[in-house]
């Protein structure tokens, strides 16, 4: 059932994102073409500026729309009139949440890939990748690090995990806010916004307390010094430790948001 829900979720949102990605890549290619001929003809400066503006708008849109559609789909499809169909399907509420979440994560990843591809289209010249790798390696060597050290790999993994957890947490916080907000019948959007600020404030307070605790430890002083070389000292260095702690915190948040959302959809659903 989850697979089927996800299929319709992607069919619905794909109508927006696929043309958007196509447009973004198209604009990058045209812009690149202008850049290649620009040197010989100054007359192309106006279309080039316009295309650059369009390119920036499309990049921003491809990320912003992931969040906007994530909210709209959840609200309209599960809490609005379409909810009359979705909630009478023989499907457990948590599968609805997963379908919405997976679709959002998928589009977010797709947007990253497409945006990266567009940058590569614009910036590509022979030896670009070799140059980037060389630069990263030089920077790392300057602080005494290399990829052969397991601690460097581990710290990178912790950093990636943190980004992923923070993205999922972002979506789940939105879902939990809307699931709680629907209880305010007649003012559900206001309810959702209030719930969002409630969750935001609560999570900020907890994070601040955590930061305060961390700041009393030696780890913080090392972080403040910004000596990246310390990463080489071991897998559990101040940087990887910090990333791991924050990742765990995000995972706790997102599990709580999931529990709240699931409880609201299965026990407190109140369609208008």
């Amino acid at each position: 059932m989850l697979r089927k829900l996800l299929k319709y979720e992607l069919l619905s949102t794909g109508r927006i994102f696929l043309p958007l990605y196509l447009a973004l890549l198209g604009v990058s290619v045209i812009l690149k073409a202008f850049m290649l001929i620009e040197k010989s003809a100054r007359i192309y400066i106006v279309p080039q500026v316009l295309l650059t503006v369009l390119y920036i708008i499309l990049v921003i849109a491809s990320f912003a729309l992931v969040y906007i559609f994530s909210c709209m789909r959840f609200y309209k499809n599960l809490l609005g009139d379409e909810g009359y169909l979705m909630h009478t399907l023989p499907v457990k509420p948590y599968k609805h949440i997963f379908a919405k979440l997976f679709a959002s994560i998928l589009w977010l990843i797709a947007s990253f890939i497409i945006a990266a591809a567009s940058v590569i289209i614009l910036a590509y010249q022979k030896g670009l990748f070799e140059y980037i790798f060389k630069m990263i390696n030089n920077l790392m060597a300057a602080v005494g690090l290399s990829w052969s050290q397991p601690s460097v790999v581990w710290t990178t993994v912790a950093m990636v995990a943190l980004s992923v957890a923070s993205c999922i947490n972002g979506f789940m916080m939105l879902y939990a806010s809307m699931a709680v907000g629907q209880l305010l019948r007649g003012h559900r959007i206001i309810g959702s916004i209030l719930a969002y600020f409630g969750f935001y404030t609560a999570s900020q307070i907890i994070s601040l307390v955590m930061l305060f605790v961390i700041s009393r430890t030696g780890m913080w002083r090392t972080l403040e010094e910004g000596n990246l070389g310390i990463i080489g000292t071991g897998a559990w260095n101040p940087f990887s430790a910090f990333f791991t702690i924050v990742t765990v915190l995000y995972i706790v948040y997102l599990i709580l948001y999931f529990i709240i959302t699931n409880y609201m959809l299965s026990r407190k659903l109140s369609l208008e």
Binding site: L11, S12, D81, E82, G83, T88, L89, P90, R267, L269
Partner: protein
């Protein structure tokens, strides 16, 4: 009015207002059906925040093979009652059971629901919606849906957002009636349509529901529906005023259900 004239044991019991009508069926499943009601409400109450009770203390048992009219003026609690059965609302107290189960995945397999509003995804085409139903309901019959669409002249390739409101309502009715469900909940199926279409809709309901199933039709337009009803439930201010077999009520009061309704709910 039963489709095959073959009655299962049934019972519609409401606040002891009327003696329990019970008929033994000759079907082997009748005993099993009688043991667990298709729909049971125990002290079912729904109160919206800050408001009066939309439904209060409803006790009801409904068995298979009946066509039941859920009758009452606007705001009497008809839609709330149906939404509680579907799990779209949660009771404030008491409980509602479908085949002994609280609303959930299992009960949703058994219930086919036509809401009082358009629930369609605007971006879909009609044929996509039919595969959607086919994907999620194993008791959905797509051929039945396509043949009904054809009879009505609705193009399966049409985009839902290009259809008129009346056509969308018909599409929803077709989807609802193309399921082989045990309980059909139809909320105001004839509320917004012209009298000519009413006959078509009632005809569609009568000729397509799963034999042996129970159909609950909520409406405040009784004259058009009365002839097809086996039982009626009168709802007023969230309470059951009257419930029982339509024939008995007509006989006892010496007037049609429509006349009785107009008298009871006179402003």
């Amino acid at each position: 009015m039963s489709q095959n004239g073959n009655y299962d044991a049934h019972e519609i019991k409401a606040d002891e207002l009327l003696p329990v009508a019970q008929q033994e069926g000759d079907d082997g499943n009748a005993a099993a059906a009688a043991a667990v009601p298709l729909l049971e409400c125990r002290r079912l109450t729904k109160r919206y925040t800050g408001g009066r009770d939309a439904l209060s203390d409803i006790n009801l048992k409904i068995y298979g093979n009946r066509i039941i009219g859920l009758l009452g003026p606007n705001g009497s609690g008809k839609t709330t009652f149906i939404k509680l059965i579907c799990g779209l609302l949660m009771p404030t107290s008491g409980e509602v059971l479908v085949c002994g189960m609280r609303p959930g995945v299992e009960s949703k397999h058994l219930v086919s629901y036509l809401p009082d509003r358009i629930y369609l995804n605007e971006w879909m085409r009609v044929h996509r919606l039919i595969s959607f139903f086919e994907d999620f309901y194993d008791n959905f019959a797509p051929d039945k849906a396509y043949s009904m669409l054809e009879r009505l002249g609705i193009d399966p390739d049409a985009k839902l957002k290009n259809l008129s409101k009346g056509t969308k309502e018909k599409v929803q009715l077709i989807l609802t009636m193309s399921r082989r469900a045990s309980l059909y909940l139809l909320d105001e199926p004839i509320g917004g349509v012209d009298p000519a279409s009413r006959d078509f809709i009632l005809g569609t309901i009568l000729s397509n529901y799963n034999p042996g199933a129970t159909v609950i039709i909520s409406t405040h337009i009784i004259s058009d529906v009365e002839r097809i009803l086996d039982d009626v439930i009168f709802l007023s201010n969230g309470k059951i005023m009257l419930a029982g077999a339509a024939d008995e009520i007509r006989e006892k009061n010496g007037k049609s259900i429509d006349e009785l309704f107009r008298e009871v709910f006179k402003c």
